[in-house]
């Protein structure tokens, strides 16, 4: 039997969380080292899985299946395809970098890392589950520690409000999806939650038309779809840095990914029927998010709303139901994950030193924090879709996909490119250049080595993919091929 890579990846963080909780709270250094080691191990395994994935063979690989409740047709069933394997890798990356930049957390690091790791377990679980029930199970595991992480370690002004808002949105979202999922379970007549079987359940057209919106929108709430986007920027701002990285970096992808896997892949006819409406909502996300981001004065809110805008592109790519759009959306999930992780890490580093995120009050940060500045500049280039960076590799196919579907939408969505350029440039200029306020002179300490490693790692990924798209696109493409087959070769 093959080494059970996926279940090991999923459970490493969970087990580590338990181990951490058994350690003495005073052993802060040991706790941090344990956390970092475990995160590295998970990353190493996910890198292995990524490169060992056979793109030519495509389909689901590294499959593991353990019966759990056979009478209900539930099993612990793992496997990855070309769309999920980059996201597993992304989770590993965000986990390691998140631990690195949270090195300085002094308030109960034991609990902090334990919750963070439970969250990571849930995320890994969703990306790798092939069982619909387990997918929901891991989904809830991912959402629940968010609440605690934000309430305990979050920004004191809004943490309670934001945590509550986020949790309610996400639970209600998952509830709506769950209703849809149960409908599928009962109607299919297969008595199984196995998604590989459900893919071939051949639901009737009217069934798909009625239930697709439930499943898709329920998950899309976690992807930040308009008008259910408001939890996300509030949540970002209130969360501590590493949690924001997780939140924007992978959690929102969780929603988009599940919307694709459960919504579009299991109910393809429904997807075809509803795709114009989703396109409309996603279009609002893209343009509206960009406009709102451009007037925010809080550095973190700017990034938060830019995520709303960029996740709109992912949803838009899905809704095109065209190979280009889907590939672009797949790459965008990864690229945006890395980009926002970097942005939030950078915001955190500035905030920790300046104790403000108010953009007009900042300035001249490039001098004491050169690497952070370079990181934000590169992130900005990614976010405005500059060729040579990963953002372009994602956005360009999406735009081709949109153009092929409906050129008017492409033209309107293109407005966001200009708006995005304007606000990221403004942030870079105001925060990192210009004159540094006097009270910061001598007070801004340089970042430590772990921070630097994390930043450089994230930057290298964005440039690497930008220059060599073949590092990710063939994977995504092999996954998209399967989606297209389900859609009937559309």
């Amino acid at each position: 039997m093959q080494f059970p890579f996926l279940s090991v990846i999923v459970f490493i963080p969970m087990v580590t969380a338990l181990v951490l909780l058994l350690m003495k709270p005073e052993q802060k250094k040991a706790i941090r080292i344990t956390a970092l080691t475990a995160a590295m191990l998970a990353l190493a395994l996910s890198i292995w899985v990524y490169f060992a994935y056979d793109k030519a063979a495509a389909g689901y690989q590294f499959i593991e299946k353990y019966n759990w409740m056979p009478m209900l047709g539930i099993s612990l069933h793992f496997g990855v395809d070309g769309l999920s394997v980059p996201l597993v890798l992304l989770t590993g990356i965000v986990m390691v970098t998140g631990v690195m930049i949270s090195w300085g957390i002094d308030d109960r690091p034991r609990e902090f890392f334990a919750f963070l790791f439970i969250l990571a377990s849930g995320v890994f679980g969703v990306f790798t589950s092939l069982d619909l029930f387990m997918l929901f199970f891991f989904y809830e595991i991912a959402v629940f520690p968010m609440f605690l992480l934000i309430v305990i370690w979050g920004w004191i002004k809004t943490r309670e409000y934001a945590a509550m808002k986020l949790t309610l949105y996400l639970f209600i979202g998952s509830l709506i999806s769950l209703i849809g999922a149960l409908a599928m379970y009962w109607t299919s007549g297969l008595h199984t939650f196995n998604m590989l079987d459900l893919e071939h359940a051949a639901f009737s057209l009217s069934f798909q038309k009625i239930w697709f919106p439930f499943v898709f929108l329920g998950f899309a709430i976690l992807g930040g779809i308009f008008p259910f986007h408001n939890w996300s920027p509030d949540g970002h701002v209130a969360a501590p840095t590493a949690v924001s990285m997780f939140h924007a970096g992978v959690l929102m992808k969780l929603g988009a990914f599940a919307a694709l896997r459960v919504g579009i892949m299991l109910l393809p006819e429904g997807a075809k029927f509803w795709s114009p409406l989703i396109m409309g909502l996603a279009l609002v996300n893209i343009v509206y998010g960009a406009f709102i981001a451009s007037v925010q004065t809080d550095f973190k809110y700017v990034i938060g709303f830019s995520s709303v805008s960029h996740m709109g592109l992912v949803m838009m790519g899905f809704a095109t139901l065209k190979p280009e759009g889907l590939i672009g959306a797949g790459v965008q999930m990864f690229s945006h994950g890395v980009m926002t992780a970097l942005f939030f890490a950078a915001v955190g580093m500035v905030y920790d030193r300046a104790h403000t995120r108010d953009i007009p009050k900042l300035g001249g940060m490039i001098k004491p924090l050169p690497l952070v500045g370079i990181g934000v500049i590169i992130g900005s280039l990614v976010s405005m879709g500059m060729p040579g960076f990963s953002g372009f590799v994602a956005e360009f196919p999406i735009f081709i996909g949109i153009w092929k579907t409906q050129w008017v939408v492409a033209v309107i969505a293109a407005i966001s490119i200009v708006v995005t350029a304007s606000y990221v440039l403004l942030v870079v200029r105001r925060v990192f250049f210009g004159k540094m306020p006097e009270e910061f002179e001598e007070h801004i300490k340089p970042i430590n080595t772990l921070d630097k490693i994390a930043l450089v790692f994230l930057m290298a990924l964005m440039i690497g993919i930008g220059l060599f798209p073949a590092l990710i696109v063939p994977w995504v493409q092999s996954g998209v091929q399967h989606v297209l087959t389900l859609l009937g070769g559309a």
């Binding site: 309670e160 409000y161 509550m164 808002k165 309610l168 949105y169 209600i172 709506i176 038309k209 919106p213 929108l217 008008p227 259910f228 408001n230 029927f273 509803w274 114009p276 409406l277 509206y288 406009f291 709102i292 451009s294 007037v295 190979p323 280009e324 590939i327 280039l381 500059m386 060729p387 040579g388 590799v393 360009f396 196919p397 735009f399 081709i400 949109i402 153009w403 092929k404 050129w407 492409a410 033209v411 293109a414 407005i415 490119i417 200009v418 708006v419 350029a421 304007s422 440039l425 403004l426 200029r429 250049f433 210009g434 798209p469 073949a470 696109v473 063939p474 493409q477």
Partner: protein, 716 residues
């Protein structure tokens, strides 16, 4: 051969990284690397160019190779390099101007001078005080960010080389965007000056608007043809299909794509109505202006649209009436040529005059392309690059000389205002003579200068093919060009010095003057390669190499237009007339008050900045601040949330006071009630009630929408 083409853009890129990462502190090494890299690329370009000359019918046997880059669906998006006659001609001038600008930058940034006491990064150097022979005096000081400057212009050169050697729209776009970024970095190089910061943002944003349309154009090309490489798109059957497929607004697919791509050029090459950024770009150091105006950025825009000519003109053959897209291009070009020239006559800043002349000359090229004069447009692109680089570097040299005088005498006047100059021909002879050559080339001084030949060809094409409106408009623009050029030369170099700074100005070092001389040679000599065959007296002495060579890029060699005296005489009259009047009017003028052309509407550039601010900038910020953020997010969505929350609180109170307390408590006692109360107030504190109800409200709205959609649209 193809390996060499692949390698061509690389040296400047490596130089960029090397300087930024390793040699930032060591100035001599930094400029050594940058100039060395530019030299390597220059050498490579010359080898490629010479090889290209040796190939018979080069247009049919181009150098090129490509590799797979981005997999999309069933095919790969290929990227590759290609040198055909057009790119060979462009790479030739890029190599020369870039090298000249790099060498010039050493002197311009005061290499070898002491550090200034008050100099800070982000501001131009203020000068340093040195003690010599026992008395103190001020001399120019070295640029504080000397190494960084060379890193940035190296990246700029990389962008341009990438763009020129591309065999597809994708890498062309990559180079295009890199240059956009570099223009931002370099225009805002002195980021300590607010005006420079604003100019950088303005340049980036304005060109970016064009870029977005270009990107859409690329998306359209790709979704139609499934490829982005020129050789695929320009296949006759593909062009045929593009030209015959109707798209929208009554235009064919080719027409729409052509227009979208052309809007990219309008942004990049500063054509009306996106011209506003280029004059402000003067805030950057002068070598940067030369880079932007001649060697790279704006030339790139014109190059792209020339490159896409087969697509733009798909379905059109010589002699036919222009198609819609071409007419629009011709109109924009001709209009811009005249419009910018009228502004240039009223500017007093030496660099601003040149900036508007660039916009105007680019208009000539665009107009030429619009009327189908492919070769003439390319010819003017090349000659213009040489003489405009020369003029900008010359103006930098003038300002530098003035600065020397200003520091020496402590006379702090506006060093770029031409009314503060005068009489510089004696103080700066090399700068004067080279500037004169550049200015005459710009004016189209007959026979001797390159500008004459390229401009004359545009006139001949416009007249010969019956585009009389374009012909007349361009002729007026050319007259104004000669006029304002002579105004500039007269005010700057002739007469007597009008300030102390001008009186003590001195010639600049050899690193600055040698590039001027080299460029001056081309500003004269390059015209001789394109003399029309039937030109009286000279025609046929030297074969019209340029026409044969560049024309070979197209499938069919364009016909040379027949000789006619009308355009020739017009060209002679406007050039000589403009020069003469410019000298006549301004030889006596001493101050702006005596200048009859200081008309507010011209001086203020026809108020375009103000109009745009009113029509675009304000509404956009209104949409962002008021509409989306305040009205939608905070008023509508939050308002919904708040009113629902208020209603729910009211309902909660009602339940509590009229049902819970009197009814439930009666039966269940106070214990439960207290728990409910405690948790209720706890929840209210974190405003959870609002969220739930907001969710419910949103779901309800969406459900209604979904139902409407399902029954109304889905039912159809």
């Amino acid at each position: 051969m193809t390996t060499l083409i692949w390698l061509l853009p690389l040296p400047p890129l490596l130089s960029f990284f090397a300087i930024l990462l390793f040699t930032n502190k060591r100035k001599a090494l930094s400029h050594g690397i940058a100039v060395g890299a530019a030299g390597l690329s220059w050498l490579g370009s010359m080898i490629i160019f010479m090889r290209a000359l040796g190939v018979e019918e080069f247009g049919k046997h181009v150098f090129g190779s490509s590799i797979n880059w981005l997999p999309t669906g069933s095919t790969w998006l290929k990227i590759g390099v290609q040198i055909d006659p057009l790119s060979a001609a462009v790479v030739f001038f890029v190599a020369w101007t870039v090298l000249a600008i790099f060498v010039y930058s050493i002197g311009y940034n005061n290499f070898g001078q002491p550090k200034g006491e008050h100099d800070v990064a982000g501001l131009p150097p203020h000068g340093a005080t040195v003690t010599e022979h026992g008395h103190k005096h001020t001399v120019p000081s070295i640029e504080p960010m000397y190494s960084r400057f060379f890193a940035f212009i190296s990246l700029f050169a990389f962008g341009m080389y990438t763009l020129v050697v591309s065999d597809n729209l994708l890498t062309l776009f990559v180079g295009w965007e890199i240059m956009g970024l570099c223009s931002y970095l370099l225009i805002g190089f002195w980021f300590g000056k607010p005006s420079a910061r604003d100019a950088a943002v303005k340049a980036f944003m304005t060109t970016r608007i064009g870029d977005v349309f270009m990107l859409l154009g690329i998306a359209f090309v790709y979704s139609f043809t499934g490829s982005l490489s020129f050789s695929e798109i320009f296949k006759p059957e593909m062009l045929q299909a593009l030209a015959s497929t109707p798209a929208f607004f009554g235009l064919s697919a080719a027409g729409i794509i052509g227009l979208l791509l052309f809007i990219g050029t309008v942004g990049k090459s500063a054509q009306w109505p996106l011209h506003v950024w280029l004059p402000d770009a003067m805030e950057g150091p002068t070598p940067v202006s030369a880079m932007i105006h001649a060697a790279t950025m704006v030339s790139a825009g014109v190059y792209m649209v020339i490159r896409m000519f087969p697509l733009i003109s798909a379905g059109w053959t010589e002699g036919m009436p222009l198609n819609t897209t071409m007419s629009i291009i011709a109109f924009i070009g001709a209009f811009t040529a005249l419009f910018a020239a009228t502004i240039a006559v009223a500017q007093n800043d030496i660099k601003r005059v040149l900036a508007y002349s660039t916009i105007s000359q680019l208009g000539f090229m665009i107009a030429a392309l619009g009327i189908g004069a492919y070769v003439a447009a390319t010819f003017h692109l090349v000659t213009h690059a040489f003489f405009k680089a020369l003029l900008f570097l010359g103006s930098g040299s003038v300002i530098h000389g003035m600065e020397h005088g200003a520091l020496h005498t402590g006379d702090h006047v506006d060093l770029q205002d031409m009314f503060n100059m005068g009489g510089l021909r004696k103080k700066m002879p090399i700068t004067f003579w080279t500037f004169l050559i550049g200015g005459f080339a710009l004016s189209g001084f007959p026979v001797l200068t390159a500008g004459f030949w390229s401009k004359d060809e545009i006139f001949a094409e416009a007249f010969g093919n019956g585009h009389l409106v374009v012909f007349v408009v361009l002729a007026v623009a050319a007259f104004l060009t000669a006029f304002y050029t002579m105004r500039q030369i007269t005010l700057t170099f002739f007469g007597e010095p009008r300030t102390k700074a001008a009186e003590y100005a001195s010639e600049t070092p050899w690193t600055m003057t040698v590039p001027l001389i080299v460029l001056a040679v081309f500003a004269v000599g390059y015209g001789w390669v394109g003399i029309p065959e039937h030109f009286p007296g000279l025609g046929g002495l030297i074969p019209n190499w340029f026409h044969e060579f560049v024309g070979g890029t197209l499938t069919e060699l364009p016909k040379a237009v027949e000789f006619s005296w009308v355009p020739l005489i017009t060209s002679l009259c406007v050039a000589l007339g403009g020069l003469f009047f410019g000298w006549l009017v301004y030889r006596k003028v001493k101050s702006p008050k005596q200048d009859f052309l200081q008309i507010p509407v011209l001086k203020n550039k026809w108020y375009f900045d103000e109009i745009y601010n009113f029509v675009f900038v304000k509404p956009a910020s209104w949409i962002a601040e008021k509409f989306t953020s305040l009205y939608m997010d905070q008023t509508v969505i939050d308002g919904l949330l708040h009113s629902v929350a208020r209603f729910s609180l009211f309902l909660g109170h009602a339940f509590r006071n009229y049902f819970d307390k009197p009814v439930i408590n009666e039966f269940l006692g106070d214990g439960t009630g207290n728990v409910v109360k405690a948790s209720g107030s706890g929840l209210r504190k974190i405003q959870a009630g609002r969220i739930q109800y907001y969710m419910v409200a949103s779901v309800a709205v969406l459900v209604i929408f979904a139902l409407l959609y399902y029954f109304l649209i889905g039912g159809m």
